[in-house]
C-alpha cells in the first residue's frame, strides 16, 4: 500500500516557522521529545514486566498532539484515544503520575484503575483516553455542548483516528456539532491503519477531511508530522470556535513508526513507505526548525531527568490496596 509521507500532500513550506513565537516552538519540541522518550521507556518497562495489558505507542505521531495542544489554553478540554500518551503529555501531564498509572500504582492519575488506555485528569481538563475506538468523540462533542450551556469561551479537541472515522458516532457527532455550532475541533489523526487494515481498504473515499463539509463543518488537511503546521491550523480552528463559529475537522496525516501495539511488529507495513515517513520524523523536523543546539540540549536533559524521576516514582509507589478497593464496592 502506498501511503506517501504527509509533505508530499501538502503545499505548505515546512522548514520555516514564520509567526510562531519561540516559546511555542520550544514547548512543542519538548512535548514531542518527551513523548518519544516516554514511549520508548514504556516499551522497555513492558519488556521487563513492569507494564501489563495493552500499550499502544504514539511513536511517529507526536507532532499532532504537540502542535494541537500548543493552540489550547489550560482550561480547554481534550478527549483522547487508546493511543493517548502523547495527548496527555502535550496537555501538560506530570510524567510521574502517568508512569505510575501505566504501571498500575496507587499514585497514578487514576489510582491504577485505568492503565495506559484510560488516563484522564480533572486538573488538566483531560476528559480521558478511551478503550473504545470512537468512544471519545461524542463525549468531546458533549463537552462542547456543556461549554455552550455554561457560556464560557473554552474549546474542546477530540483526538481520534482514521479507524474511528469509519464508526457511526463520528458521522453523528460531526453532524451534531454542525447543528449546534459547538466549540469542538475534531482532530483526525490519519496514521493510515486501523490496527492492520489500511485506510484504502476501510473506505471508498480516502479524503477524510472532505467529510467535514458534508456536514457543514470546515475540513482541513495538514501535515501531521510537522507540529508547526498542526499548530497553525489548530490555532485558527480554536479561534473560530471561541468566536462561536463552530467546529472544524482537521485531518492530520501521519504514520506509526511500528505496529498497532507493543506486541505487534507491524509486518503488514511496507518497509519503504515506513522508511520514507521516518525520513520525515516529527522529532527531526522540529529539531531542524529550531536550530538552536544549546536550547535543544537543555530541553532534552530536562526531559531525561523528568523521565527517570517518573520511572523511579512509579517503581517506588505502592500498589492499590485490595481491601480498600473491595470496601468501595457497593452491593
Amino acid at each position: 500500500m502506498a501511503h506517501p509521507p504527509a509533505a508530499d500532500r501538502s503545499s505548505r513550506p515546512t522548514e520555516a516557522s514564520p509567526g510562531i513565537p519561540e516559546p511555542i516552538l520550544l514547548g512543542m519540541y519538548r512535548n514531542i521529545y518527551a513523548t518519544r522518550r516516554f514511549e520508548l521507556r514504556c516499551i522497555e518497562l513492558y519488556r521487563q514486566g513492569m507494564i501489563r495489558g495493552y500499550l499502544h505507542p504514539y511513536l511517529g505521531e507526536e507532532a499532532v498532539a504537540a502542535g494541537a495542544c500548543a493552540a489550547l489554553r489550560p482550561q480547554d478540554y481534550i478527549a483522547s484515544t487508546h493511543r493517548g500518551h502523547g495527548h496527555c503529555i502535550s496537555k501538560g501531564a506530570d510524567l510521574r503520575l502517568m508512569m505510575a498509572e501505566i504501571t498500575g500504582k496507587a499514585t497514578g492519575y487514576c489510582k491504577g484503575r485505568g492503565g495506559s488506555m484510560h488516563i484522564s485528569s480533572k486538573q488538566l481538563n483531560h476528559l480521558g483516553a478511551n478503550g473504545i475506538v470512537g468512544g471519545g468523540i461524542p463525549i468531546a462533542t458533549g463537552a462542547g455542548m456543556g461549554i455552550k450551556v455554561q457560556q464560557t469561551d473554552q474549546v474542546v479537541i477530540a483526538f481520534f483516528s482514521d479507524g474511528a472515522s469509519n464508526n457511526g458516532v463520528f458521522a453523528e457527532s460531526l453532524n451534531l456539532a454542525g447543528i449546534y455550532q459547538l466549540p469542538v475541533i475534531y482532530l483526525l489523526e490519519n496514521n493510515h491503519y486501523a490496527v492492520s487494515t489500511p485506510i484504502e481498504c476501510a473506505t471508498g473515499c480516502c479524503d477524510l477531511a472532505g467529510r467535514g463539509p458534508a456536514y457543514g463543518v470546515p475540513g482541513i488537511c495538514v501535515d501531521g508530522n510537522d507540529a508547526r503546521e498542526v499548530y497553525r491550523e489548530t490555532l485558527q480552528a480554536v479561534a473560530r470556535a471561541r468566536r462561536g463559529e463552530g467546529p472544524t475537522l482537521i485531518e492530520a496525516s501521519t504514520y506509526r513508526h511500528g505496529g498497532h501495539h507493543v506486541n505487534d511488529p507491524g509486518l503488514y507495513m511496507n518497509p519503504e513507505t515506513l522508511a520514507a515517513w521516518k525520513d520525515r520524523d516529527p522529532l527531526v523536523l522540529m529539531r531542524r526548525a529550531l536550530g538552536d543546539e544549546a536550547k535543544i540540549r537543555a530541553i532534552e536533559e530536562q526531559v531525561e531527568a523528568e523521565l527517570e524521576a517518573a520511572v523511579t516514582f512509579a517503581a517506588e509507589s505502592p500498589e492499590p490496596s485490595v481491601a480498600e478497593f473491595l470496601a468501595g464496592i457497593q452491593d
Binding site: Y109, R113, K122, L127, G135, P138, I139, G142, I147, K148
Partner: protein, 323 residues
C-alpha cells in the same frame, strides 16, 4: 394534594429542576416545540429556550454520549431516548463510558446525567417498541436504575435522579403516562434506593415495580375480598436495591413473589429470588415465585400481545399457588 397525570408529574420535576439549577438541560428527539412523543416536555422550550431544551437528530449513540461529556464538564443533562428499544443504540456510551468513568478515573470525575426512556407492551407497537429491558442496565455496576409506578413517585424520583451525581437510567412505562394520582403541592424529593410498601399485608409479599405495581395492587384488592392479605412492595429503584425493605417484608409474611413485565429469563426477578434464598431462606415458608413476561418478542396482535405479559389473574393465581 392535587391529582395529576404521570407525564405531568415528570414535566413538573423537569421544570422545577431546570428552574432550580441552570446547569440542568434536556436533549432528545422532538422534545422542544412538539413537547415529546408522550408530551412530557411540553412548554419547556418556551420557558427555558432552545439552549436548554435541545431537539436532536436521530443519533441516539452520539447525543447520549454528549450527555456524558456535558456531565463531565459540569452540567446535569437529561437525555430522552424515545423508546428503551432504541437505547440498544447507545450501549457503548452508557455501559462503557458513563457507567465506568468515575471508576476508571479513580474518582476524579463523575457523570451526573439522567437517561429518561420508556418501555413496556400494551400499545400494539410490536417487538421493537414494546420491550422491558431494565435487566440489561441492572446488570451493569456504575448505573442506577429507577422505574416509578405513580405520578407521585415519578416526580420525586426524577428530581432525585437529576440531583444524583451518578448516571441514572430512568425508565417510564408507556401505559403510565395518562394515569392519574395525587401529588403534594409543595416541592418534594424521593431519595433513590427506597422501596415503598404500596399496600401492607400479612400473608405474602409481592415485590414489583413500574406498571406491574398497578396490576399487583388490583390483584391484592381481589385477594383481600377473599380474606387473603398481600403486601405489595414497589421497588421504585432497582439499583440501588432496597434489600432492607424487601427482607423485612418477606420475614414478616414468609412468602415472596416477584412480578415484572420483562421476560422471566435473566430478569431482575431471578436475582431478587436468589437474594432471598441467600439471605432469608430460613424465613421462607416456600419457594419464591416469579410471575413475569414470557420469553418471547412482543407481538403486534392485541390478544397475543396480552398473553406475553402478566395479567391480574396470573398474579392472583401466583399468590394462591404460594399459600
Amino acid at each position: 394534594m392535587t391529582d395529576i397525570m404521570y407525564r405531568e408529574a415528570l414535566r413538573r420535576a423537569l421544570d422545577e429542576e431546570m428552574q432550580r439549577d441552570p446547569l440542568v438541560f434536556i436533549m432528545g428527539e422532538t422534545i422542544a416545540e412538539r413537547g415529546g412523543s408522550y408530551k412530557v416536555t411540553e412548554g419547556l422550550v418556551k420557558k427555558y429556550g432552545p439552549r436548554r431544551v435541545v431537539d436532536t437528530p436521530i443519533a441516539e449513540a452520539s447525543f447520549t454520549g454528549m450527555a456524558v461529556g456535558a456531565a463531565l464538564v459540569g452540567c446535569r443533562p437529561v437525555v430522552e431516548i424515545l423508546f428503551i428499544d432504541f437505547a440498544m443504540l447507545v450501549m457503548d456510551q452508557i455501559v462503557n463510558q458513563a457507567a465506568k468513568y468515575e471508576f476508571i478515573s479513580g474518582g476524579q470525575g463523575k457523570v451526573p446525567m439522567v437517561l429518561r426512556t420508556q418501555g413496556g407492551a400494551g400499545n400494539g407497537l410490536a417487538a421493537q417498541h414494546s420491550q422491558s429491558l431494565e435487566a440489561l442496565f441492572y446488570h451493569i455496576p456504575g448505573l442506577k436504575v429507577v422505574m416509578p409506578a405513580t405520578p407521585h413517585d415519578a416526580c420525586g424520583l426524577l428530581k432525585a435522579a437529576i440531583r444524583d451525581d451518578d448516571p441514572v437510567i430512568f425508565i417510564e412505562h408507556k401505559l403510565l403516562y395518562m394515569t392519574q394520582g395525587p401529588i403534594p403541592d409543595d416541592e418534594y424529593v424521593i431519595p433513590l434506593g427506597k422501596a415503598d410498601i404500596k399496600k401492607p399485608g400479612r400473608d405474602a409479599t409481592i415485590i414489583t415495580y413500574s406498571y406491574m405495581t398497578l396490576k399487583c395492587l388490583e390483584a391484592a384488592a381481589a385477594l383481600e375480598s377473599e380474606g387473603i392479605s398481600v403486601e405489595v412492595v414497589d421497588l421504585r429503584t432497582l439499583t440501588p436495591l432496597d434489600k432492607e425493605t424487601i427482607l423485612a417484608s418477606v420475614r414478616r409474611t414468609g412468602r415472596a413473589m416477584v412480578v415484572h413485565e420483562a421476560c422471566k429469563r435473566g430478569g431482575v426477578g431471578g436475582d431478587i429470588a436468589a437474594m432471598l434464598m441467600e439471605e432469608a431462606y430460613d424465613d421462607l415458608d416456600g419457594p419464591v415465585v416469579r410471575v413475569a413476561g414470557k420469553n418471547t418478542p412482543v407481538p403486534y396482535n392485541v390478544r397475543i400481545e396480552q398473553a406475553c405479559v402478566p395479567s391480574v389473574e396470573d398474579i392472583v393465581e401466583g399468590v394462591l399457588r404460594m399459600l
